[in-house]
């Protein structure tokens, strides 16, 4: 603890950036849970990843539609996987996107709200450096929208921006969710490359009545991808490197791209521990009992 009036705030260990990886939904969630477990032990970790096959993720407490309960993920849509996240919020369709996961001791960087703000601020800096015209960040003052975004429903996460989430041209670009367990904090989120979130609505509607009318006129939904904001869209590796660099530096790491961590030995050691832990969580995430628990 810091003595009252001391200039420095206690901080967690410097962020270790893990290599970019592509995996299926169960594996991705298992690795994120392993990151949460390591965070409870004191680590601050960041990784970016992709999804193969594309995947629908449900929020921890989100109800799956009756038509899907107990069925194979393949029944959802051919070739599309399904998982349930350990974090809150609503469904997300993980297609053309860059996904990030950040974990740290729950109090080391100021607590969940401070981490949410700091990660999004760093992502915003990285996106702005790439030329993305982001909107001003919304605070807690947008009460009606906050309540709608917090409500657990069948709607896609990207239908409503929550406080601190990143939007461009009034549409949601980055959505995130968190989980706290045994003193660790996990935050993961999606940075859309293309808007395919209509596929993530569990109620079969792409948008609400008002937004539907707007979409019919404009052809645009409530979400937006980087492909509509950057022309040409930079290579994915460049985007990951820029974002990883900004987030890692915000959490105490020296500047370094994700593809070449500043501390390779720490990243390798952490990756080895993650693989071991993730195997245990993967069994849970591949089970129908977890996926269709609600």
């Amino acid at each position: 603890m810091t003595a009252r009036g001391a200039p420095a705030r206690p901080r967690g260990s410097p962020c270790v950036v893990l290599p970019y990886a592509v995996a299926d939904g169960a594996r991705n969630m298992a690795v994120d849970e392993a990151m949460l477990e390591l965070a409870a032990g004191g680590s601050t970790l960041l990784r970016f990843y992709g999804w193969d096959p594309w995947c629908l993720s449900l929020g921890r407490h989100q109800e799956a539609p009756d038509r899907l309960l107990g069925r194979s993920p393949d029944d959802l849509r051919p070739g599309v996987d399904a998982v349930r996240r350990p974090t809150g919020g609503r469904s997300v369709f993980h297609g053309p996107e860059i996904t990030y996961a950040f974990s740290c001791p729950a109090r080391a960087w100021g607590g969940p709200r401070a981490v949410l703000q700091a990660v999004h601020r760093a992502l915003a800096e990285g996106l702005c450096a790439l030329g993305v015209p982001l909107d001003a960040v919304r605070g807690d003052d947008a009460e009606a929208s906050v309540a709608e975004a917090a409500r657990i429903s069948a709607a896609s996460c990207f239908r409503d921006p929550a406080p601190e989430e990143l939007t461009a041209r009034g549409r949601k670009l980055v959505g995130s969710a968190q989980c706290r367990r045994h003193g660790g904090l996990l935050q993961h989120g999606s940075i859309l490359l293309e808007d395919r979130q209509r596929l993530g609505d569990l109620d079969g509607r792409d948008v609400g009545p008002h937004e539907r009318a707007e979409a019919e006129v404009s052809g645009k939904g409530p979400a937006i991808g980087l492909n509509e904001l950057l022309d040409p869209l930079p290579d994915g590796r460049l985007i990951v490197e820029r974002l990883a660099d900004h987030v890692a530096r915000a959490f105490g790491a020296p500047a370094a791209p994700a593809a070449a961590p500043a501390n390779p030995s720490a990243a390798i050691a952490t990756s080895t521990a993650l693989i071991r832990l993730a195997t245990r969580y993967e069994r849970v995430h591949r089970s129908g009992a977890w996926l269709w628990r609600r």
Partner: protein, 133 residues
Amino acid sequence: MSDIPEDLRYTPEHEYVRETDVDGEVLIGITDYAQGELGDVVYVELPAPGDEFGQMEAFGTVEAVKTVSELFCPAAGAIVAVNDALEADPGLVNSDPYGEGWMIRLELEAPEDFNDLLTAEQYAALVADADEI
């Protein structure tokens, strides 16, 4: 400034424990400080009566603004009852954490465990430390 009633006991994970009129049975919920940190609670996942938990074993979860937090059993025991009202109105955790926002009624495996929990004074010191971070 969060409310920390003198007559309750607490855990470092921000659960409170209230004695009931039945020996060895306690009511458990999350503190005023915890609900303030969480923000608007939108869902509370609770166990079933009869379920048994060890000390600091997770007995449920609470979700607020897309953040899921686990709830920890302050002492070993068996669930006697859960607060079903939270299913329809999880906001009771915010509006009345020490009253209608209680979560579980637990029969302690060892009633003396109650005395090992943090006092209000100790918990207030813990919260003050946390706020300095």
